[in-house]
Symmetry: D2
Subunit: 420 residues, 4 copies
Amino acid sequence: MVNVAEPDCRRAWQDRFAAVRAHSRWLTEPLSPEDHQLQSMPDASPAKWHLAHTTWFFETLVLRPHAPAYEVFDPAYAYLFNSYYEALGPRHPRPQRGLLSRPALDEVWAYRRHVDEAVARLAQDADDDTWAKVVPTLELGLHHEQQHQELILTDILHAFSLNPVGPAYRPLAQWLGRVGAQGDGHGGAASAEFAAAWWPVEGGLADIGHAGPGFAFDNEQPRHTVWLRPFELATRPVSARQHLAFIDEGGYRDPRWWLSDGWSCVQSQGWTAPAYWQAPAQPHGAWHAFGLHGWQPLDLDAPASHLSFYEADAHARWAGARLPTEFEWEAATATTPTPGLRGIGQVWEWTASPYTAYPGFQPTPGAAAEYNGKFMVNQIVLRGGSRFTPPGHARPTYRNFFPPATRWQCAGLRLARDAP
Amino acid sequence: MVNVAEPDCRRAWQDRFAAVRAHSRWLTEPLSPEDHQLQSMPDASPAKWHLAHTTWFFETLVLRPHAPAYEVFDPAYAYLFNSYYEALGPRHPRPQRGLLSRPALDEVWAYRRHVDEAVARLAQDADDDTWAKVVPTLELGLHHEQQHQELILTDILHAFSLNPVGPAYRPLAQWLGRVGAQGDGHGGAASAEFAAAWWPVEGGLADIGHAGPGFAFDNEQPRHTVWLRPFELATRPVSARQHLAFIDEGGYRDPRWWLSDGWSCVQSQGWTAPAYWQAPAQPHGAWHAFGLHGWQPLDLDAPASHLSFYEADAHARWAGARLPTEFEWEAATATTPTPGLRGIGQVWEWTASPYTAYPGFQPTPGAAAEYNGKFMVNQIVLRGGSRFTPPGHARPTYRNFFPPATRWQCAGLRLARDAP
Amino acid sequence: MVNVAEPDCRRAWQDRFAAVRAHSRWLTEPLSPEDHQLQSMPDASPAKWHLAHTTWFFETLVLRPHAPAYEVFDPAYAYLFNSYYEALGPRHPRPQRGLLSRPALDEVWAYRRHVDEAVARLAQDADDDTWAKVVPTLELGLHHEQQHQELILTDILHAFSLNPVGPAYRPLAQWLGRVGAQGDGHGGAASAEFAAAWWPVEGGLADIGHAGPGFAFDNEQPRHTVWLRPFELATRPVSARQHLAFIDEGGYRDPRWWLSDGWSCVQSQGWTAPAYWQAPAQPHGAWHAFGLHGWQPLDLDAPASHLSFYEADAHARWAGARLPTEFEWEAATATTPTPGLRGIGQVWEWTASPYTAYPGFQPTPGAAAEYNGKFMVNQIVLRGGSRFTPPGHARPTYRNFFPPATRWQCAGLRLARDAP
Amino acid sequence: MVNVAEPDCRRAWQDRFAAVRAHSRWLTEPLSPEDHQLQSMPDASPAKWHLAHTTWFFETLVLRPHAPAYEVFDPAYAYLFNSYYEALGPRHPRPQRGLLSRPALDEVWAYRRHVDEAVARLAQDADDDTWAKVVPTLELGLHHEQQHQELILTDILHAFSLNPVGPAYRPLAQWLGRVGAQGDGHGGAASAEFAAAWWPVEGGLADIGHAGPGFAFDNEQPRHTVWLRPFELATRPVSARQHLAFIDEGGYRDPRWWLSDGWSCVQSQGWTAPAYWQAPAQPHGAWHAFGLHGWQPLDLDAPASHLSFYEADAHARWAGARLPTEFEWEAATATTPTPGLRGIGQVWEWTASPYTAYPGFQPTPGAAAEYNGKFMVNQIVLRGGSRFTPPGHARPTYRNFFPPATRWQCAGLRLARDAP
């Protein structure tokens, strides 16, 4: 195991801290102070709040316990920027985050600098014992900030989608210049090519979950054994073209394909296509989709995205297939390389698995115990990552999770079926 | 396999049909016409509706396809008494079932007689081929009616609980005279006796699901393999006394024990004890509970019941244990006898398992395809049966399921823990 | 003034009491025990509850204060059957009245007999002083029961309208045999005849409100002066035919005619016609309406009914007219006879007047202070009575009131306009 | 009548236009771009939206019809900044105004300059006929902007009140330097002085409504006659001290004082004091109130403010008095000077009058017809103006109106009673 107290290692941590923090700046550069303020639904948060909350995490879990001389930037922030940690005291109501015009964006950036400098001083001054205690929480904080980096994008996209002028978050070229294309760039495919593309996976006992080295969240552990029957995975995520076929064949009007709760959503919320998709105004016109680069013609060969679990599940049933379980997904992809599977990392892939604890699960000790475990009900696991995910953040054992009606995340599906 | 077309076998089916149908009459005898009308929440249904809906099931799935001379009792009933079968046409809105004062209770009983007689004629007259086709659906219909028999009780209990005069459904003696004590009669236990009572179960590969002979629902199939780690089950369900200890130690006020969604329920709905439990009006007074026999002092040694999954899960965490998965539960109990486990069949036992499809799951063909599969999301599996369950209805592979906030069912919990 | 303590007068009161109470029986005769239980929305009450509540009124306000030997029928009824009298203690939640299957209908009738007999004894035995105190409340109780007699009908009609089998409350012939045609029988009129039919009324000072003799509610008093400008009233209520013209000309799709709150109702609740009206299934087919005698072809010459205030107001604006104020209505109709005005008493007529206190208003002393005054906000005055109103109940100064979105009452409109 | 086409008159209009527009700038100067974005409830709007909407009014109703060369600033604004004018096309949903981070604040100010310059050019270039047509709408637009100036303050106050850091809109000194003390500065009074202070007004016929000269809204017209009984008005609005007495005597816990709908609000929303009032944290501590200058000790001698109509009405009933009708209020105050009445213009004074049309009411012709008339239901009239009202905006015939549960306006009450 790495000796995290060694000088080189400290420098590496400092660099990594600086890099993650700088990425948050790059991500929010296109946003005006007013944009930073937007909260378009209770499940989303303002970009400014994300910037402050991720900073509060370091202040509260790294600096306050481990940096004795640290001066809290503003005592009120403990209330304003705690998200859901009951053990850390009361907090501002989630649906009212968008009302915090004060502190201003400038003050939040001053807060970030204040904390960044204190972390840098801690990395420099801490004795080895202290530093060894700091590192696990520091690392958790960086992964935590990366999760919020993705939410900054999904949340601003939702807010912009409700603005009739349809603002573009960032031009495509600018985005690609920094982030590049996500995944392996082979996600979409013409449907003609698709039919035969099943990737067989053998059954039997499989080891699931993180075994190190490197970081993983508590919910990816402990590594454990499951029994799998032989199955097949589609070599690519379902494309927009394939999902248009589902739409064209009346998929959103036929209860046969839907779970009962999903059909209720279709009817009560009037779903006729994924979120942000707009049907042609004229017959034979083009579908459009709203994304980070504004309204664009729908890319038919790219993975279908902004589907709820209900839509993913219905599509799979209509296609005569099913969603893979998260164990099937992990077993098929954990071995690097997986030459038969393309498009991983382009859209989060809904699995068939409700989000539950692995056998022997133990939450992270301390305040971070609330990080993952208390959400293990009413959610579905997604795997793989998306183009909204910061580069390097996801891994084969990574378990993302959202309620089944969620559509504002960049999520699609990959088909599975039992071995013939 | 039994030849269901043989005369003796037909008579056995007729007897069984008559017995199940007669039990519905016995169950509803204490209810006035007004009681039959009550619908106290959208999830519950009036007793009269249950009586008609179970009859509609036989009319629609047995008589109409297989008894050519059958005359439909009233064409309007197809709309009034369909529950959720999309393939069988539109239906009366569920929350408005309580508004169907017409047809009157007498008419519903006439409907039941009409269908009972038609089924009897069919059993007598059908040729062997027809009868062989009839039996699977007839059997499904009987198990379906038994499920509704349990709901008749849980639903009327909920309705009566909201009546300030607190009506008793039936005197205890009358109930015991017919149904007897449920389970093995050894559910409760003094807490002193409890601590040491763990029943160890070995790990490894286990076969889960129904393998025949006899009836099972589609959701109990196919039988398949899972890998289990060694674990222990409590020999008895958690008693009311144990749950009072959870209450007394502030369990309903401490977010540490609760899933996030559960804590939201506690706060928004003001939960301070299980449903139907009433705290003492005076210090050192007795707790009471509302049940089928009216308001009674809480039986401290009986299994705690009318808990939601959230409460069961929180209790287990507080007790330093956890809920068993449904696979652990089945593996531990499937072998008859299980001398180490008591109290099975007294309260439905919440498991840790979300309700999902078994690997290779195929819904029952035909209209009954909607019976189970379309509910496989947002629900938690319960196992074992309760004193509200008709005798003989449950079995070790039986999977009951309800949303995690459900409290009007007779549900409690049994603790589990990893092997030391 | 009448000496209410004289023997003849006592007998008259007894007869009147018996007659009003008997009318409640006649009204509920067609209803089964299940029908008596129905509560189809929070604003409506079960017929059984109306029967008990009106009886509770006599028990609480007449017998308990004035009949020393009176034995309360059941102490629980004070909680179950209080409607909204804060001064008389807590009460069963209004939306849960439909859950009171117990006490059974038979018990409620026993309650009524118990109270009827006690009132009869009181009339016989009370000394003159006591009797003089009893009479005002007794009379109030009779008018109160008549108001609930109307609600029994409007509430059961609403409940039956939600039953797909569309039960008829009572055959028309049976109804007419007892109640007769309501009003003067001249409500409807061909539209051709209508145009010229304005009834002019002079302006100036007018006296408004009840001046005696005879009973009136506190809200009709004190009699006071208003200044009116000259105006004209339509000689007949707006007919169904006229309102169909409003519908046909797109009235329910054009915001110009509607108050802002009314337009919100149109859109959020999808109003396209009055409540209980059903458009033709085929082009050129007939409109139907659901009423006390079941589904019937819409009577085009009868007054349009089951309109909200918003619809009445929009119709008037579309017709180039307006609604009369309640003062205009009373000034025009208070003088008997009013040969120019027809159709009074067929439908309650929405006025332009919000329901407020008359200058110098004083609530009835005692518990009945809550009878009218505390509702004097957010409601609109209706005048005249309807075919659902018990014969003899309404009078020219009578002020009925409901919130402006109310549609389950038998309400329509009469046009008014400024004098040319 | 003034000849609005004369050069001097044109200059006067230009000056007045410039002055009103400049006041909007002064009012919003303390607000950051993020503050401008806040919408804390559907009834409130962001300051930025107010700035744009008032500009859209001039663009749409003045420039587009009357300035042929005018170039629309941005066609999208017609959709974004229309408030509720159905005749002017569809509009952005009111509850989503806070999501319009684009256009940015700078762009809205560019819009204002664009329109201001175009209005200036129109004033210079228009021929006399055109100008004569322009002036009524221009004047309406200025009064419209003044109404929104008041809303800018009430809306930001509501938003700031939900921010735990309690931002002050503006220091008191800065406010007084520009606006000065409102009203006559004699609103509050020690309660000892209060008791005897009733101002008697004679009854009889009174003329109500605007008779010119000068501007008035359509809803203040036509002037008409009412009959009043003699009455008395309190010489001062109810003070905070008086309302604390109501609180201390249990006023918020006693249903006797409350209208039924008001009592429902008290219970469902947990009212225990006016909006923005905070009870002492310690016994014998001081009450505080949140206002434009942040959290301040409650000024006991100032008029109680931020009361709903329900609280005003309950207070009056508790005090043995009542609210005046709007006619009483106007009759008592219309004669200048009214030496007996103090404090007018410090808080809007709830009257007893629902907001309805005056006899003979005709809406302003054209698109502005929707300005007032369509809101004439479910609202209560307030009179007098408040310290939030722009100087010179209100007048004795001015009718403000809000729903009875409204608390975010600066509203209080003045007691009235019948003449002894």
